[in-house]
Amino acid sequence: MSKLTQRKSLDYIKKDYVRTRTMPGSWYLSSYKFRFNITHHQPMLEKLKEKKLIANQCSGCNRVFFPPRLVCGQCLVKPDRWVDIRDTARVATYAIAYLKNPDTGQVEEKPMILVQHDGADTCSIAELAPGINVKDTYIGMPIKAHWKENATGGLMDIEYYDPIPDDAKDIE
């Protein structure tokens, strides 16, 4: 067993209980139909094919939402303006997950990040470049989107985010 996943529990005062009658049961959930309106995502998905990012802006509070949002929670109006945003971003917050690689069975450290694109007021969940040392991650780290070669018009067109230096030309 890998050192990272072995369970080392702490001792505590335990009590033994008499066992009452226990009936095993299982609950097979049926299939559900979750309904979403994704019309507000369509302009963004179209632009992703050209490797460009757009976000929508609330005309009440001027907040910019990326990914676009159907309703602004503060003003209760539909954001109706479309603005271009950059593909540079900042790490808003991060955590390191310890996940088992299905191919090798090894536990890998993987930083999970929330990115806030420059020009947007919201953050979304994403991944960092695979080669990066997790100890170099910090909050406010400048990063840049790494695009897939053939963009298909989905959020996965941005494969991951590459770290860039603080004084990079992209964020001027």
Binding site: I13, I38, P67, Y94, M112, C123, M156
Partner: protein, 415 residues
Amino acid sequence: MGRQVAIVSAGFCEHSSKRSDVNMPELVNEAIRDCLKKVPSLGISDIDAFVTGNMPAFEGANMPELWSTDWMGARNKPLLRVTTGGTTGGTVAIAGYYNVTAGLPGIDTVLAIAYEQQSQGDTSVGLASTAYGEISILNTLGIDYDSLSRILSAGAAIGVAAYQATNYMSKARITEEDLARVVVHNRRMAAKNWWAHLRMPDLTIEEVLDTPYVQYPLRYGMLCPASDGACAMLFTTEEKAKDMCDIPVYVNGVASVANESAVLGYDGSGSAQTDPSAQIGAMRSSELAYSQAGISFPRKEIDYAEVYSPFPNQELMWLEKLGLFEETTAPQMYENGTTALDGDLPVNCSGGVNSTNAIGASAMERPAVAALQIMGKADNQVPKTVHTSIGHGWGGSLNLCTLMVMSDEPKRKWR
């Protein structure tokens, strides 16, 4: 203005990871009997209405009030079920308060019950069922299932709190040792509490730091357990409370505020809460509850605090956001003993959620313990006299906060 509400009693059942000796209604019954034992003059027939709640789908039984009504003693009486996720207990307590303060004819004494038997079902399935509808939209936006499961593994309760922890740690410039100190504080307090789950009288900081990471910066030893347990609280009017017990505890302010959900947001559209440790909802709920209670200087006026902290970084954060300490100073307060049992502001002397977490009941155990501290009947009673205390609850996707402010004096009436 509604009627003044008082708490006269609170009861708990024994918490454990597997209460294999009882089923869910019996577990509830244990807490109710403990609650009524403390008020000898009151029988079950004197209770006019009931409020109950637990997390749906965690035990695999929906509508559990159908089979636990008789065990609660609620047959042929008004019964209300409230469930709001992690804050279920806090909301049930607030609903009990509302029931009394509304002044409905014939409803004076209300029993609020919150419970959870997590060993009966699968908590992760329950959590997934609450989030799946929101997450499945990411599939339609072009994130395939493999990467979604990677994101999901970081998006469960621990994952969300880990984001919060990294943010808080970089803001307050603290290390994991500070987090471990909070854990040691909680677990040692729990050792003096008969109903707590993880009772570790000899835990040290080194032992906590020796456990592996579950998700950086949270280690296995820092996480809350999954417990089976129940909690009951008795609310009544000011006049009746004086006959029932020596020191009734008056509820002077309640608040339940939701901020925008963090991390995932709604419909996969991200979150405007870019700093998960900013917690505007908690600040707003404390403003509301303190203004109702007439508290202008929370740092001076509040003598005891019970905060909902499954993870140690949250305990530090809530204490600051609820106005009890200056921003980023809470870690020092644990170091210099301000929050100890005999300190200026004792915190989580019951062991907190970090030692005992029966999800549905946790948020109610906080105001329940805070009330018992004022009455002087708590199991780990603080040596000083407690006049004003708060009980806090947290839930949702880092966004929902409940707060109850209690005092040994009724609300000041301005004329």
